[in-house]
Each structure stands twice: as structure tokens, then as C-alpha cells.
Amino acid sequence: MKKYYLPLGLIGLLIVLTGASWLGLFSDYLQTVAMYIGVNIILTASLNLVNGYMGEFSVGHAGFMAVGAYVSTMFTTRVIPHFVLGTPLIPSGLYPLEVAAWAENPAAYLVFPLTLLMGGLGAALVGLLVAVPSFKIRGDYLAIITLAVNYIVKSACENTQALGGSRGITGIPKLTSVPLVFLCAVVSLWAMRNFILSSYGRGVVAVREDEIAAELMTVNTRHSKIMAFCISSFFAGIGGGLLAHLLLYINPSTFSILKSVECLVMVYLGGMSSISGSILGAIAYTGLSEALRPLRLWKWVVIPLILIFLMLFRREGIMGGREFKFLLPKEEVKGYAAASD
């Protein structure tokens, strides 16, 4: 019976969230914050896969988000309107905002997840392109490479007129909704948790602990590193797609290195190698940055200060290496008990 607590709880939460948003119990502002939290949870957990579990240091998460965001918005503002409304595939000049009209059709809510999936796959492909050459070498090179990738993706978007150049893309239909974000977050976390608990995930963690020993204990380290990196990029792409359809306007600077840093901050705040930590980190950071909004510029003094204190007094973050028991399958709980002591 206990087995069903988590799914039942999630369904209950989904019904409450959806019902409350429909009934207007949540203000639009609160709904937006809730969606940001959901998107940030996906981004944090996916970055944690590389920076926490794998122990490498990726600083270009926004680059993969950008790929996901651009691919999915290309579908929702260009490809689909082209077939539904007959608008040209490649616009000359700024795109009219009316292209978003197709999204009023209820079918849009079924099509949108597919475009997100395309975005995720696009990001995973870019992840694969990055991972294959960069995991041939060992050590800290990944940080430099991912930093470069972030800039390459950003400048590629800036210089491609079909992607709107540095003006970006406007008229993105508002397709991101509270229940959708919730579902995406749950599915992503579930998939990433299962990956980590599997032998592939154990291989990834073994690479962090001692790459040579892992290799000599039959782990195909290159393979598992590439796999983890692609999965991480895939979910970054999904997060990027959701974010684009929440912001309704994206341009290359949305996905600058600052966005990557924000993801890093959430990972370290929540704690490395922890799904629970990723959830808490995303909630804490998003909540904090909203709550401190009245401080205006001083917000950017207070948040870094909090981070400094965190690093001084609790370096492992809120949940470093530990998990909430209810997130784990029954048979895995014991394995995590030792780490929680």
C-alpha cells in the first residue's frame, strides 16, 4: 500500500494545483512563480546529473536550454502556423503576433508537449556533439568546453536571421501552464531518479568517485558519461522550451552565461547529488529571488551573501547526497540511510 503514497500524493497535488488555478484561487503572479519553480526544478535536477552525480563541472547549461527553447519555438511560431494558418516558414522582418492564434485551438495542448520533446532531443543532440570529443580527455576540460558551447549557441542564435537574430523571437503562444509544468517536472525527476538508481547511474557515480577504478570494475566510463550528459542536456532542452512559452519572448541574451550561473547556484544551494536537494534548491532560490524583489538592487547583494554563508557553514548544500525517503523506491531506502547519518 505504501508503494502508492507517492503517486497518489502527486495526483492529489496536480488536481489541487490545476483546480486552484482554474478557479482563480491563485493570482496570475503566483501561477507564474509556481511555473518558474517547476521549470527551475527540471533545470536544477538535470544540471545536478552532471555536476553532482558525475562530478564534472558543466557551466553551460543555458546553452542547452537555448537549443531546446529555440527548437520548440520554431515549431510553435513558424512550422505549425505555416501548416495551420499558411504563414511563410521564414518571415521577413518581425513576425506578426497573430501567429500565436493557432494555439487557441485546444489541440495545441497536445501538440505542445511534442514540440517540447523535439526541443529536448535537439538539446540532447548538441549534448552528444559536445560529449563525444570532450570526454576523450580527462579532468576539468569540460568546464571550459561547456562555457564555450554556451557562447557558441548564443552567438549562433544572434547571427542567424531565421532565428530572429539578436532581436529574438516574439509572439510565442502562451502554452506553458501550471499542470503541464507540474507533469513535466514529475516525469523528468522520475526519469532521472530511475537513471541514477540503475546500473548506468551507478557507473556515473563511480566515475565521480574514481574513474580508473570504475573502468577496472567493468564500467564503460566513456559510455556512461556521454549518456548522463545527453540526458542532462535533454532535460535542459525541455526546461528551455517550457521557459520560452512562459516568457513569450526569447532572445539570445535570455540564455547568457548568467542563466547558467543561476542553474549552478540552485544546484549548490540544494545540494550535490540529490534529487530532493534539486527540488529544494529550485524552490528556495526562486522563492527567495521573488521574496527579495522589494529590495530591488540590494537583492543582488543579499542573495550572494546567503550563498557565501551557505558555502561557509553548510558546504554540502541543503540536502547534499541525501534523499527524502518518499522519493525513493522501497528497496533503495536503506542504501541512502547511511549517507544521511
Partner: protein, 256 residues
């Protein structure tokens, strides 16, 4: 047909000849010792067998196939397990998970199985876990299953490293100084353990050791190397009386 046969193995580090025409035949079920002064190239031989280094020349025939050029994880999954001179455990993992990692190549389910936790996945994971517990019980350390390895005592860590190597179902076990840093009492248990696991798991053991008591006690065949080249080979008694080995390594002490 020997289980492991190495021929003409030579390896250079830059201009330094670390291993020079090394040769060995290891019969199935035997315990063979490798001795030599520090820097003689003993660990390099192990690293060459494991695939960590690619030899300049030579061949390493294991179970009638050549291991040269294979990546280390492939060599390991063909049945070569090893331990390290300086422990290389996965310190932040539990003992159980250390043993599960070593069964990576045996978990032949797909990524899809892992995502959806299919029947196949659950069955395989159960097998992996059962094997891990079984091994821990054999060595009498199952009470540590959920401890982080970094919290164990040095002697226990050595034992865990050995069980971890057993978890990958080796037919050849390479032990790099299994009694390094151990007290005489711990050393005795370790030698007993080595003989015990050889019987139980039908193993062939190739070990590097500095303590002559261990080598003389358990090895059936001993190889001595110096500057990467073989300087003596034979039974422990023969090695003990080999003038070249005495000069290079043993000195006068053990003569009595």
C-alpha cells in the same frame, strides 16, 4: 593451455624501459607471486594486463584471446579482477553499492528498462543485489553492507576491495600488495582469505607482494623482476636460493 600467457611484453615510459621482455605462463587455479624492488615495474605489469597502458610490444593471451588494445572495462568484463596497492574504493558509496558497481557489465538491461523499471530491470537488479549480499556473507562482512566505505577500518577496506573485485566474476584475480600496511595478525587473516577465495571461487591469483612470508607461504610459483626484466622464476624455495634475486632484492636477511 595456461589461463594467462604473456610473451615478449615490453613497455616504455618515454625513454625509460619500464618492462623488458616480460614473460609468464599462469596455469588455471595456481597462485603466482611477483616480487622485486620498488620501481622494478611490478605494478606496470598489472596495469598492462588490465589495459590501463598499451604495451609497446608483446602479447597478453588470456583465455586464448589477446587482451592487448582492449579498453580496461572490456578486459575486466572478460574476467580480470584486480585490487590496488593504494586502495581505490568508491569512498562515498556504501559497501553494497561498491559491489553493485562492479557488476555493471552483467546488468544487461537497456536504458529504457532502467527508466521504466521494467520486470527485466527489477529481476536483474535483484540478482545483482543478491550476489552482492552473498559475497559479503562469504567474507563475513555483511553487517557493513549499508556503511559508507570511507567509514570502515583499513583492514576492512582491504577486504571490501577484494570482494568488489570478486563481484565482477573474475577468473583471474590480480592482487597488488594485498597485505600492505597490515599488522601481522591482519596479514595472517588475509593470507587465509586469499587461499579460501581461490578454493571457493575457482580463481587463479597473480599477486604482487613485498612480504616474503606471504609469498613463501601461499605462492606456488614466484617471479622476480628488476628494472623491468625477469631475473628469476621458480618455486618459492628456488627463488629464495637464486643468487640474482638475493642480490637484487632479498638481501641476506631471509637467508636464514
Amino acid at each position: 593451455m595456461p589461463l594467462l600467457r604473456i610473451r615478449d611484453l615490453t613497455h616504455f615510459f618515454g625513454g625509460l624501459k619500464a618492462v623488458d621482455n616480460f614473460e609468464v605462463r599462469i596455469e588455471k587455479g595456481s597462485i603466482v607471486g611477483l616480487i622485486g624492488p620498488n620501481g622494478a615495474g611490478k605494478s606496470t605489469v598489472f596495469n598492462l594486463i588490465c589495459g590501463l597502458y598499451k604495451p609497446t610490444t608483446g602479447e597478453i593471451i588470456f583465455n586464448s584471446s589477446n587482451l592487448v588494445g582492449l579498453p580496461p572495462h572490456e578486459v575486466a568484463s572478460r574476467g580480470v579482477g584486480r585490487t590496488f596497492q593504494n586502495l581505490r574504493l568508491f569512498n562515498d558509496l556504501t559497501v553494497l553499492n561498491n559491489l553493485k558497481v562492479a557488476q555493471y557489465s552483467q546488468a544487461n538491461y537497456s536504458l529504457g528498462d532502467a527508466f521504466f523499471r521494467t520486470k527485466r530491470y527489477l529481476k536483474k537488479e535483484r540478482e545483482i543485489e543478491e550476489r552482492a549480499y552473498e559475497l559479503l556473507e562469504t567474507l563475513g562482512i555483511s553487517s557493513y553492507a549499508h556503511q559508507l566505505t570511507k567509514n570502515l577500518s583499513y583492514g576492512d577496506q582491504r577486504r571490501v576491495e577484494m570482494v568488489r573485485a570478486l563481484a565482477l566474476r573474475p577468473s583471474l584475480l590480480l592482487l597488488d600488495e594485498p597485505t600492505a600496511g597490515m599488522s601481522p595478525a591482519e596479514m595472517m587473516t588475509m593470507t587465509e582469505l586469499i587461499e579460501e577465495i581461490r578454493e571457493k571461487f575457482d580463481l587463479t591469483i597473480f599477486l604482487i607482494e613485498h612480504r616474503m612470508r606471504v609469498v613463501m607461504g601461499i605462492c606456488e610459483q614466484v617471479l622476480a623482476i628488476d628494472f623491468g626484466a625477469l631475473i628469476g622464476e621458480g618455486t618459492p624455495a628456488e627463488i629464495r636460493n637464486n643468487p640474482k634475486v638475493i642480490k637484487a632484492y632479498l638481501g641476506e636477511e631471509v637467508m636464514m
